[in-house]
């Protein structure tokens, strides 16, 4: 349940971006969430909607793309998408390995309301 601290961190970056563009309202936030991150989408959305209340991002849509996991085999160095929590290389059957994708949460983009005024709600 660390969704609230994730949201706090996301919004810090989001408001940084908004400020650099004259503080217009934020209409959409796009995330890329690695499949290996133990994050519950509904919980993240709930935390996001609660945190943006009364800010210039109130009502913004939280968009969500899942990035599949990619594992590098420790023995033959093949890369593959794991089928299970126990990683087994489909090429040589070695276990374990290193995640080379799908282990991050990335703020991909921020959508700001178009317009000249640059007057945010806050």
């Amino acid at each position: 349940m660390h969704e609230f601290s994730l949201v706090e961190s996301i919004l810090t970056s989001v408001f940084d971006v908004a400020r650099q563009h004259g503080n217009p309202p934020v209409t959409r936030v796009k995330l890329e969430v690695g499949a290996l991150q133990q994050v519950v989408p509904e919980a993240l959305e709930f935390a996001f909607n609660a945190a943006v209340k009364g800010t210039s991002a109130e009502g913004a849509v939280l968009d969500w793309t899942e990035i599949p996991a990619r594992i590098q085999c420790p023995a033959c160095h093949a890369t593959y998408e794991p089928a299970d929590v126990f990683w087994v290389c489909p090429n040589c059957e070695a276990q374990g390995g290193k995640a080379i994708a799908g282990d991050d949460i990335v703020l991909a983009s921020v959508e700001l309301e178009d317009g000249e005024s640059g007057q945010g709600v806050q």
Binding site: H2, S9, I105, L112, D114
Partner: protein, 215 residues
Amino acid sequence: MEINVVEKVMKVNDELAQGVRERLAKAGVVGLNFISAPGSGKTTLIETALRNLGGAPRIAVIEGDPDTTLDAERIAACGAPVTQVNTAGGCHLEANLVNRALDGFDLEQIDLMIIENVGNLVCPVSFDLGEEKRVAVVSTTEGHDKPAKYPKLFRTAHVVVLNKIDLLPYVDFNRDIFRDSLEKLQPGVEVIEVSCTSGEGVEAWCDWLRRAGKG
């Protein structure tokens, strides 16, 4: 208008953790991050080590808990320098809290900085605290399925302590399944079986800490 950002959400914590790591390394201190469910015996394992190691390596402790200073009082009673960090209900420690807590110690007088995280098998795993090694603790009363259910912790732990082995006769904990799933998650991972109550395995646990304390 859409502004591309492409920034890791953990960036701020990761950078602070790197700062902690450098700060500890400069003072020759090895940081350990203890992660487990509430009640697995993290504080008891630290107390047991302090009572048995006799001051070498020199251990200091940062206690993370949502509330109270109870664990810090237990550690202080063993004579080790300790700082309690309350997360005000938060489910994990973050690097900025650890960085601030370090101000309260004379790092030159310390070999091992043990950070006892908030009891939780999920959230602490995502937050680097600047530790050198992660210690995962599981107790026999929690069931042998914990590695499979919380794989991320057990893939990243440098050592897994199975605590409360004195209770094995009373619980249906299957050691073989437990060890087998650990081996699948992280081939070769070190497992230490301990009972703080009976003293079994305590020497192996103290030995691991001695080795860790040498950097």
